[in-house]
Symmetry: C2
């Protein structure tokens, strides 16, 4: 039984998908039952890394969606529109959708899921997070027995590449970014990556799956690496930590009716022995902590044509597989695990009530008693300190003091910082990073 | 729609499963639709970590399988018989099976799969490999687009615990084993773990799924850690390696009709930067290399009641989910990904034709010219050497020489070793370990 595939987009990922479909030998035999029927491209004349018959190409993506020979619509064009509308169009036509589009899913996931549930079709998104790493399927199909305590991940390859080089070379952010752009690891406009927006899209998706409810993407506190000072990477290393851009979703004590979550994206100090600390370069990794499973981690290439296409085709295979089981899709009932609908409301907590460990770098006068005064401010706010270390600086008369706190309530920590900023010998709170 | 669960065995894992089923709140809502209907135990009077109504318990496992209120049979009793017969009995009754029994699946997987296919029922085995780590499902459902090049894993927690401590403490194998037994990390009869049999069971299962064909368990070359010398762990560390008990299944060039495989279990030197090198203690990790995905790794707790129960319940949920999609199991068609049937014959190659890097430790006279003679033997057999290092020994007049080769054909390597053993100044080939 051949299953017709319509591809929206023939960029890096689309070409990767077409390449897999064209060479089924040695892959799962179900790949051989997939036939690429129609491909929407912007410019049919453009040279491509895959050879496709000219009659497959179309500049009209709606025609690809509507084509009766297309059973599954694969959206790999990216961007918000027309991607969102085309996904909804496919759903309305009763066609399952596979998409790699994290931006659309993070923003319109609820709308798309509601439409898919109403029509009884699957919308699968393995490629939207973690590139080739199987993480969406495991969250949906392998960890449902658990109460998920935390999902934390390095889920942006560009920033991890930059941070890995900053740590290895002691280099400044701007220099490594420029080099990464030259090498193709960072885009000409790197904002979505370096400001954390891409990671926020992805953690919104992971949190939604892990906790069974839609997470409002717009309200996720997000801090990128674009203001990160190389000194903090170096000081962290001396104290036994690495700095990573971490996206975290954590369950908070709440009611039965509603799951409270602490979801955030920010540069974070990880102890060097932490499972995520060794994830370097453009690799991604996601750590899932649950009861009773404990800690499981998924690691691999977070981007790239091949890995992402592997994930897209996995989703196509899952739809093809379940069509065989249910009899060609005429049965509109969905596997609740694969469909992954919402099953409880989720709400983000006010970050003032969350608790974390913190790294603080202060610029101070190099005067006896400064450390005592700082320690007193923390103590009066109820913030207990793990370590307080003075580092050498270039300029005489100045000092840099780095404090690592124990886990403290954010509100108390902010109160301590305000008191410290008011000290005469403290010139500035130069950096403030979350710490695991 | 409530789904009745029959549990065969109420040991550590069985009690873990019962505990999850009894506390569905906060887990996937499908857990709430599972009802524990009958539990087979050997001794109903024995105290258990979970409280179960006395009428649920039965000393007759066949009655549990046959009970009409039982829709899914969960085998967590372990051992070959009666586990195998009970699994086949459930299949014959048209009941899907979930099992954590790697020994049965590694030995009777083909028989069980054939029976399951004939009856149109699922036999799911996520808990059989890697404890709580999702690896079976991802291999079946997330990586089907790939040509799998290699699956390599640390898949025995006991040996990894022992090796981690040998490396950290410089301790001898026998001492750490005794301590591990005292702490409950190793069984009183540790043979299946330390001789590699458990890892061989598991790599047979993983290879079967990765390559789509049954792998003959009995023919897998298997070497454990029970003859590993602490000196080799220490020398490896000095040369930049860690020693792990690795289970590997690797595709070899072959024909379209048949997949040739190099499958083996042995202590292996891994470069310290290898993704598996940092996996310590009772943790497991499996690295899958495929085209086009690249390297993906799955990491987590390889054993224990909670993690294993998490995997068992995941399988139950998958069966429950697909029953909802297909309409209560009356439809006998299977999802080919979830059912994971064989789709090509696999055969193990003669290990003489495989190629590997090797670590060799030689006991020699401490005489000028020995290294030259050894190097000549390797060279004459066409074995190129990466490094050759002499280590200090306690006894005067003796030396220990460690050689690490480049990747060489096993036959050539054996030929070189024979020549070296015949050298007058070489007292013994004291150790020989594969190297990545």
């Amino acid at each position: 039984m051949t299953i017709g595939i319509g591809l929206l987009g023939l960029g890096t990922v689309g070409a990767g998908v077409a390449g897999i479909l064209a060479t089924p030998s040695g892959r799962h035999p179900l790949v051989g039952e997939l036939a690429l029927r129609r491909v929407a491209v912007r410019d049919p004349a453009r040279p491509r890394p895959v050879e496709l018959a000219a009659e497959l190409l179309s500049t009209d993506p709606e025609a690809v969606v509507d084509d009766p020979a297309v059973d599954i619509v694969v959206e790999v064009m990216g961007g918000l529109e027309p991607a969102r509308s085309l996904i909804l169009r496919a759903i309305a036509a009763g066609k399952p959708v596979v998409t790699a589009n994290k931006a659309v899913i993070a923003r319109y996931g609820e709308e798309i899921a509601a439409a898919a549930a109403a029509q009884g079709v699957y919308v699968l998104i393995e490629a939207a997070v973690g590139g080739g790493i199987p993480i969406i399927e495991p969250l949906k199909q392998s960890l449902g027995a658990n109460r998920i305590q935390r999902v934390s991940g390095i889920i942006n390859g560009t920033t991890n590449y930059i941070l890995s080089r900053m740590a290895a070379e002691g280099a400044a952010y701007a220099d490594v970014l420029a080099d990464a752009q030259r090498l193709g690891y960072a885009e000409a406009d790197p904002a979505a990556d370096v400001q954390g927006g891409d990671a926020a899209d992805k953690i919104a998706i992971l949190a939604g799956l892990a906790y069974g409810g839609s997470v409002p993407r717009a309200t996720i506190p997000t801090e990128g690496i674009d203001r990160l000072d190389a000194r903090d990477v170096a000081y962290a290393a001396q104290l036994g930590y690495v700095v990573k851009l971490l996206a975290v979703a954590q369950a908070m004590p709440g009611s039965q009716a509603e799951q409270l979550l602490d979801v955030r994206v920010h540069p974070t100090l990880l102890p060097k022995v932490h499972p995520l600390a060794g994830v370097n370069g453009v690799n991604n990794a996601i750590l899932v902590e649950g009861d009773p499973v404990g800690q499981v981690m998924f690691y691999g290439p977070g981007a790239g044509a091949g890995p992402t296409a592997s994930a897209v085709v996995a989703d196509i295979l899952n739809i093809a597989g379940i069509r065989q089981a249910t009899g060609n899709g005429s049965n509109a009932r969905l596997d609740p695990l694969l469909a992954a609908g919402s099953w409880r409301p989720c709400r983000l907590v006010d970050s003032a009530v969350t608790s974390h460990r913190n790294y603080v770098r202060l610029r101070t006068s190099d005067r006896a008693g400064v450390i005592g005064a700082i320690g007193t401010c923390f103590g009066e706010a109820g913030v207990s300190i793990q370590s307080i270390v003075q580092f050498e600086t270039q300029s005489a008369g100045d000092a840099e003091i780095v404090v690592i706190t124990h886990e403290v309530c954010e509100a108390n920590f902010r109160q301590a910082l305000a008191a410290i900023e008011a000290l005469a010998d403290v010139q500035a709170v130069a950096a403030c990073l979350r710490t695991l």
